[in-house]
Symmetry: C2
Subunit: 152 residues, 2 copies
DNA sequence: TCGGGAGTTGCAAACGATTGGCAGTAGAAT
DNA sequence: ATTCTACTGCCAATCGTTTGCAACTCCCGA
C-alpha cells in the first residue's frame, strides 16, 4: 500500500482565489479575503468559530463566516468535513488537486492527520454498478488515539 | 469484488435485548421496549424524531427517545450513523454480527441501501502502522441518486 | 403481596450550531 | 461621483440535542 500520509500541496495564491470569486460574480470583500487568509495559514479542518477566533479582534461577524464558508464551498474553494460531533469544519483545497481527501483524528486531543490517497474510487464504481445509484460521493473519516495521547 | 449489497440478518429477539438491559443494571421499561420494537420493525437508520413518530400516539417524550438511544448505544445494541445533515440516526445491530456496516443514501429521496462488507479493516491496519495512531475506527457513508430518482 | 429506594420519565427550559430578516454599508461598473 | 446590488452586522428564530427537577415506576427484598 502506498504511503497514506499526505504531503500538503502548495496553497493557492490569494489572487487565484479572488479570481474564482469574480468568476462566480461575487464580490471580493474584506471579510472574505481575511477568511481565505486564515484558511491559507492553517491547513487543517477549522470550525467557523475557530476561523472567527483567528481573525483580527472583532473583525467580522460569525454569521458572515458562515455565509462566506457556504459561498466558498459552492465555488469549490473549500471542502467540508464532519467528524461526527455536530460541528462542521472546512479546509482550503489544494491547487491542481480536486482536494478530495480524508482525515485521521485523535479522539482525545483532536489532532488531525490528513490522508492523501483515496482508496474508494474503485469501490464507488462497483457500488454504482451493483446498486444502480449514480453520481456517487462518500464521506470517510478515521478516528484513533494519537501517539502522544497513548503515553498518558 | 464481492456483492456489496447487504442481506439483513435476523433481528435479535426482544428477550435477548431486555436481557442486555438487565445485564447493564438498567430497567426494562415501557418506553424502552417500545423503542426497541420500532427499531426491530424498521431495519434502517432512523432519527429520534422518526422513532417518536412511529411510536403509538403520544406514547413517550422525545427526550426519552434521546436518552434511550444513548443507553442502547452504550450497551452496544444500536449503531449510530451520520449522513452529514446534522441529524443522528440509529439502527439495531444484527445478532451474531458486530453490526458494523455502511450505507448508500439517495441525496434526493433519502432511500437507504445497506452495504454489508466493510473493506476498510486492512486499510485501518496499514494506517495504524504508518501513523502510529491506535484503536482506529472509521465512519463511511456513500450518497448518490437512486434509480427511481434518476428517472424524474 | 407490600413497601421503598434507585433508576426513569415528562415537561420545560437551556444550549450550541446554524440560518433568516432587515436596514445600513460598500464593491465595482458606468 | 453615481448608482445598482451584493454584502455585512445585528439579532431573533430555528433546529437538534441536552439537562434540571419533581413525579413516577420498576424491581428487589421483606
Amino acid at each position: 500500500m502506498a504511503d497514506l500520509r499526505r504531503k500538503t500541496g502548495p496553497s493557492r495564491p490569494l489572487g487565484e482565489l479572488t479570481e474564482a470569486l469574480r468568476r462566480g460574480e461575487r464580490r471580493v470583500t474584506g471579510p472574505r479575503l481575511a477568511i481565505l487568509q486564515v484558511l491559507r495559514e492553517h491547513r487543517r479542518p477549522l470550525s467557523n468559530k475557530e476561523v472567527l477566533a483567528l481573525l483580527p479582534q472583532g473583525y467580522c461577524d460569525l454569521a458572515t463566516v458562515y455565509r462566506s464558508m457556504h459561498l466558498l464551498r459552492r465555488l469549490g474553494l473549500v471542502q467540508r468535513f464532519d467528524v461526527g460531533d455536530g460541528v462542521a469544519r472546512h479546509e482550503l483545497r489544494d491547487a491542481g488537486h480536486d482536494g478530495h481527501h480524508h482525515h485521521l483524528v485523535c479522539r482525545r486531543c483532536a489532532q488531525v492527520v490528513a490522508i492523501d490517497c483515496c482508496l474508494l474510487e474503485e469501490v464507488e464504481r462497483e457500488l454504482s454498478r451493483h446498486s444502480g445509484y449514480q453520481a456517487l460521493q462518500h464521506r470517510l473519516e478515521f478516528t484513533g488515539i494519537c501517539p502522544d495521547c497513548q503515553q498518558r
